[in-house]
């Protein structure tokens, strides 16, 4: 099958959606499919052979932060050329509602289009204003995928219609077979995520840490992620700061080894999550998980059966649960077993098969993807029977 995938965010910047697309493309190529990914990228970035650059993304303020997006005449032309040259059986657009390549591709293509909605943003004003413009583009999508039940609900509320839920994929064995590191073992608590992004919840964990250390003085907190380390420990009493170790940005291998080594993985995120891939990775590595009770997290953790939940933003509840879990090896072992079993459904073998099912369902009885000519002058003439050929 010839599959075209559209990535809305810059390939140079690491991010959840980009990793998902990379892994999906690798998985599909491994199954013998012909895959091409269209992504924004600087011209001098080294790209994998299956990625086609759509030009450089422009940083613009959007949705409360600065996003790097692609739009304008040149990008639209590149999208059109990619669609024309690719002769795909199906195209898979990620984040079609964000003002970037996804929307452009949706606008420019016709034929079987599959779209995955990753984020579950609250409805923004821009979305309401753009609705009449968005709708004609979005109604070309033949199949919608939401990454979680929560994302599906927001999608239904904001745009109407329906979607199937297919979770993000994880290479479970990569995490399950990683080698633990001795220096990261022994009463350790792990945290992975941007340090300076409050929504990732490190401040909540920092607030809970003194209580955890009061009960279990031997505990160490290992923090992996980008951000200002000084600022992160500011709220912590001087004598406790040595119990926090910053590992900086870690490679995929080290991330897996870290998750294999820790006694407890804590996800104190306060919001803005639609899936929670890190929880799946932690469970794959066999780390017991303690997470905030966000809708998305509760679903990934099977409503608390595969990992424990605490009341969101409640540092006392976090501390109490962490202390209890760190002191109860039996419960941790139970969570390890349950998590490892639960996580199989997020493995690429399952997720990839589901995504392929969607491709095959929409290509059944439909023509291949082509550039949509109906908005071109030639197309209009044809509609009035005036085209020359």
């Amino acid at each position: 099958m010839k599959i075209g995938i559209v990535c809305p965010y810059s390939w140079d910047v690491p991010g959840g959606v980009q990793f998902h697309i990379r892994d999906l493309a690798d998985h599909l190529i491994g199954l013998g499919h012909d895959v091409s990914v269209l992504a924004p990228a600087d011209d001098d970035t080294p790209l994998p052979p299956y990625v086609v650059s759509a030009g450089r993304a422009v940083p613009v303020p959007y949705n409360g932060s600065v996003a790097r997006l692609n739009f304008g005449f040149l990008s639209a032309a590149r999208v059109r050329r990619w669609l024309h040259d690719g002769t795909f059986d199906v195209i898979h657009i990620h984040e079609p509602a964000s003002p970037s390549l996804g929307l452009l591709a949706c606008w420019a293509a016709q034929g079987p289009i599959v779209a995955t909605f990753h984020t579950s943003n609250p409805r923004s004003r821009a979305m309401i204003a753009a609705y009449p413009i968005l709708q004609p583009a979005l109604e070309k999508i033949s199949a919608r995928i939401a990454v979680s039940e929560y994302a599906r609900r927001t999608l239904v509320e904001h745009l109407g219609g329906d979607a199937v839920v297919i979770p993000n994929g994880v290479d479970v064995d990569f995490f399950a077979k990683a080698e633990p590191r001795v220096e990261w073992q022994g009463g350790t608590v792990g945290f992975i995520g941007r340090i300076d992004e409050p929504r990732k919840g490190l401040p909540v964990l920092m607030k809970a840490l003194p209580q955890i250390l009061a009960e279990r003085p031997g505990t160490r907190l290992l923090v992996a992620g980008r951000g200002d380390e000084e600022e992160a420990v500011e709220t912590l009493p001087e004598e406790l700061r040595s119990r926090v170790e910053f590992l900086g940005m870690v490679s995929d291998e080290d991330k897996a080894r870290l998750l294999r080594s820790v006694d407890l993985y804590v996800a104190p995120n306060t919001g803005g999550e639609s899936f929670g891939i890190i929880l799946v990775e932690a469970m794959s590595a066999g780390a017991p998980v303690l997470a905030a009770d966000l809708d998305a997290f509760a679903q990934v953790l099977d409503q608390g059966a595969a990992g424990e939940l605490f009341a969101n933003e409640d540092a006392d509840a976090l501390a109490a649960s962490a202390v209890r879990l760190l002191g109860d090896a039996e419960r941790r072992a139970e969570l390890r077993v349950r998590g490892s079993a639960h996580v199989r459904r997020f493995d690429w073998s399952t997720v990839g098969a589901d995504i392929l099912s969607v491709y095959e369902t929409v290509t059944d009885g439909a023509a291949a993807v082509a550039a949509d000519e109906s908005d071109e002058p030639g197309g209009l003439l044809a509609r009035f029977g005036l085209a020359r050929d």
């Binding site: 016709q110 079987p112 004609p136 109604e139 070309k140 033949s142 199949a143 919608r144 979680s148 039940e149 599906r152 109407g160 219609g161 329906d162 979607a163 199937v164 839920v165 979770p167 679903q299 099977d302 459904r345 399952t350 589901d354 099912s357 969607v358 095959e360 369902t361 929409v362 059944d364 009885g365 439909a366 109906s374 908005d375 209009l380 509609r383 009035f384």
Partner: protein, 181 residues
């Protein structure tokens, strides 16, 4: 005078282009529904065929075979009017027969059973997908067709008002080991 006339002509052309574009949009939605309906038909037929094959293969006990054969046969022969009911009955029969993991394991144990069980699992997974995509297309077309401009200018032509396909498509527990659908 002439300038007024020109403006009127310009406005009429603009309205004409807009209506033509809307008609194109509607046309695209109708063909999307047709494709989605064809896909749904294909998946329903596939599911009924695999169910019938299993029912006649002798792998299942006689009672289960009869129940499954009856439902699969009815689903394949159903007229358009009671197709939704017949397909829902087949879903129920499948849930009754493959309610337990042991039954699936028993099917997998016989020669060729592995493939049959896989096909059935795939079919019961794909029917809800295809149905959801179909109903999503129907909803989009209905929303546009209810709009004033479409009704006043009869842009939908003679195309029948699209109807959603409503049925019970819950998969048997033993065949669906995944969260959500």
């Amino acid at each position: 005078m002439t300038s007024t006339l020109i403006w009127i002509v310009v406005a009429l052309v603009a309205i004409g282009l807009y209506l033509s574009w809307t008609a194109g949009r509607l046309d695209r939605l109708h063909s999307r529904i047709d494709a989605a309906r064809a896909a749904l038909d294909a998946q329903l037929l596939r599911r009924a065929s695999v169910a019938q094959e299993l029912a006649t293969s002798g792998v299942l006990d006689p009672a289960a075979s009869i129940v499954l054969y009856e439902a699969a046969h009815a689903a394949r022969q159903a007229e358009e009017d009671n197709r939704e009911v017949a397909e829902s009955d087949l879903s129920q029969a499948l849930r009754a027969v493959f309610g337990e993991a042991q039954q699936v394991e028993a099917v997998q144990a016989v020669p060729g059973g592995e493939a049959a069980a896989r096909e059935l699992a795939q079919a019961v997974r794909r029917v809800p997908m295809a149905r959801r995509f179909h109903n999503d297309a129907v909803r989009a077309a209905r929303a546009l067709r209810r709009h004033r401009k479409v009704r006043w200018f009869r842009l939908a032509g003679h195309a029948p008002f699209p109807l959603a396909f409503e049925m019970d498509d819950e998969a048997p527990v033993a065949l669906a080991d995944r969260p959500g659908t």
